[in-house]
């Protein structure tokens, strides 16, 4: 899979200027996606997932929001942030499209569904309104909406939650985008509907070779669909790697803790979960060391003082944690590994070499 990456985000930094100070929502995020690949970005609320995705779509609103200098979003070798308005518009909706979290508020309530789809088609493709309408009907059918011919002339409020989300997807895929960003596409939906939507997105990725960036905070969804996973915390990617590496061999205490927070079916009823104490830091004054330090069970003095370096493991797996530093006492590492064994019961299903960093 040494294919060239389609979109590359380098050192993305986004800040919001509010009364209380500058909120550093994204603090140097880098990742890349390849065609036909699904990258899941996972993290807690407020960690900067949405801001990252909006930055890619250049939807960060000035004057409050600011993408810092030095940030790069490279698509086909060109930095999106340096493109002019027109090129950016052609990219948005044409090359890259987005599914928003809450379809209820993301669809224009006073515009018919059909028009909202057609609008996108006409914007980016040289076809007539009539053809676009045909296209829209096909799209609605493709996303599994029954009776698309009548549904196309209905308003969003006449759709159920799941159908609205599907209509959102129809809008997003209307111009066969190369990249699809799905920002928590199923959060507002029921599990049964969620399953349907996820099937749909996976299907797209496989059939059209679209690169998908899936933003979520549900490990279950990631487990079922992602190729690669990036774990975000307090505006930074703390760990990133292939799906299985992340699930069976997490190298960052935060990832491990997240996995431990989800009750496992095989666990005993009412057994205490491996909860993480406290709350994520306020990004107005992010800690100078590791952002997770204060909630971390393996926190060392250095964690509070200095930002950890990135440690690279096998096959693109990397994590930013001081635990992987050469000089860290073995006892500390052992503590982490023991906990991991306890939480990830079937760790051994997935065999990799012992924690060796490949620097």
């Amino acid at each position: 899979m040494s294919q060239e990456s389609l979109l590359k985000v380098e050192d993305l930094k986004v800040s919001f200027h509010t009364y209380a100070g500058e909120v550093q929502a994204v603090r140097g995020v880098s990742f890349e996606v390849k065609a036909g690949e699904l990258l899941a970005i996972i993290g807690e609320s407020g960690c900067g997932k949405s801001v990252t995705s909006r930055a890619i779509m250049s939807l960060v609103k000035a004057p409050q929001g600011e993408i810092k200098k030095g940030s790069k979003i490279i698509y086909h070798g060109k930095n999106l942030l340096e493109m002019n308005q027109k090129e950016q518009r052609a990219f948005r909706g044409g090359e890259c499209s987005m599914i928003f979290q809450d379809a209820l508020v993301s669809l224009n309530p006073t515009m018919k569904i059909g028009r909202q789809i057609i609008e996108n088609i006409i914007q980016h493709r040289q076809i007539s309104r009539k053809e676009a309408r045909q296209e829209a009907i096909l799209l609605l059918e493709a996303v599994g909406i029954p009776n698309p011919e009548t549904r196309i002339d209905q308003y969003p409020f006449e759709f159920s939650g799941g159908m609205r989300q599907r209509a959102m997807i129809a809008i997003a895929i209307a111009c066969d985008p190369k990249i699809l960003i799905a920002d928590e596409p199923t959060t507002a939906l029921d599990v049964t509907i969620q399953a349907q939507i996820m099937e749909l997105i996976k299907g797209l990725k496989d059939k059209l070779k679209t690169a998908v960036i899936l933003i979520t905070h549900d490990f279950g969804i990631v487990a079922g669909s992602a190729n690669k996973v990036a774990v975000m915390y307090a505006g930074q990617i703390v760990e990133s790697g292939g799906r299985d590496e992340i699930f069976y061999h997490p190298q960052h205490p935060y990832t491990l803790a997240l996995l431990g927070s989800v009750p496992k079916l095989e666990w005993k009823n009412k057994q205490l979960l491996h909860a993480i104490k406290g709350t994520p830091p306020d990004l107005i004054s992010p800690p100078k060391g590791c952002a997770f330090a204060k909630r971390c069970n393996y926190c060392m003095n250095v964690c509070l003082e200095e930002m950890p370096e990135i440690t690279y493991f096998e096959a693109g797996h990397h994590a930013s944690c001081w635990l992987h530093h050469k000089e860290v006492p073995a006892a500390n590492k052992k503590m982490f590994q023991d906990d991991r064994k306890m939480i990830i019961v079937n760790e051994n299903d997935f065999v990799v070499d012992e924690d060796q960093s490949y620097e």
Binding site: T18, G278, D282, A293, K294, N301, V302
Partner: protein, 305 residues
Amino acid sequence: MNSLVDKRFELADQSRFDADEVVRPNISYWQDAWRRLKKNKLALLSMAVLIILFVMSMIGPGLSGQNYTTLTPEIKNLPPDSTYWLGTDYLGRDLFSRLWKGLRFSIFVATVAATLKVVIGCIYGAVMAYLGGFVDDVMMRIVEVLNSIPYLIVTLIILVVLGNGYLPLLFALCITNWTSTARMVRGQILKLRESEYIMASSALGASTTRVIAKHLIPNTLSLIILDMATSIPHIIFDETILSFLGIGLQPPAFSLGTLLSAGQEAMAFYPAHLLFPSLLLCLLVLAFNILGDGLRDALDPQLRD
């Protein structure tokens, strides 16, 4: 160096951490609103203007040392000079003092009428929302009826029945205005009643009075203040219109509206008699309007950030 390294990688003392730290400043809703208002330069300016106007309305009448109630026709319609800073009016009264005195009445009438309106509207709206059902329907219908009768006639009738004077005027001004407050309060209370924190409170066994005093009122207060701020300029205008029609205050009491109407008659010869009251009225209403806008922005919970 080794020992140094060791220290760095020693486990930190977890008991020192407060993982639930709250770094944002601790400010109440009102402090926050005030902060936001402070950012709005125009609103601050208009607040300053209002304070100046208010102070002037208090000290202004005495400032030039001239009598503003005694008619001295011998000196009527004088141009501005060092004794009569803005000249005298058509009956020889000091215009400068009258202007501020008139302003005082206007401000007084408007604030008191706005307060009355808000109080009546709140009580009525709250009763509507609280009793609900049939009572609500009937009371709503009354509001509707009142809304459909042109306010001028209601005012006229009240002034005619009760005579011209402060109290009838205040009464008339608020009776035609309170319905909007009542609707607003009703809507807000109905909304609040459905809100989970009110439910939580009643689940704790809170009495109705407690719910009203601790939850409903504090959460409606900002809207009420806003309502009051925005209705003051309206009431000032209404009062002007009434004075203009000759059914406002009766002498010797007077307001900006009275001055305006007298000034309009003298406009062709003594434009100043119209100009100054108009300017002052504009300034007053403008300041109230801008402040009202500023308050709207400051109090809007949606904009909170």
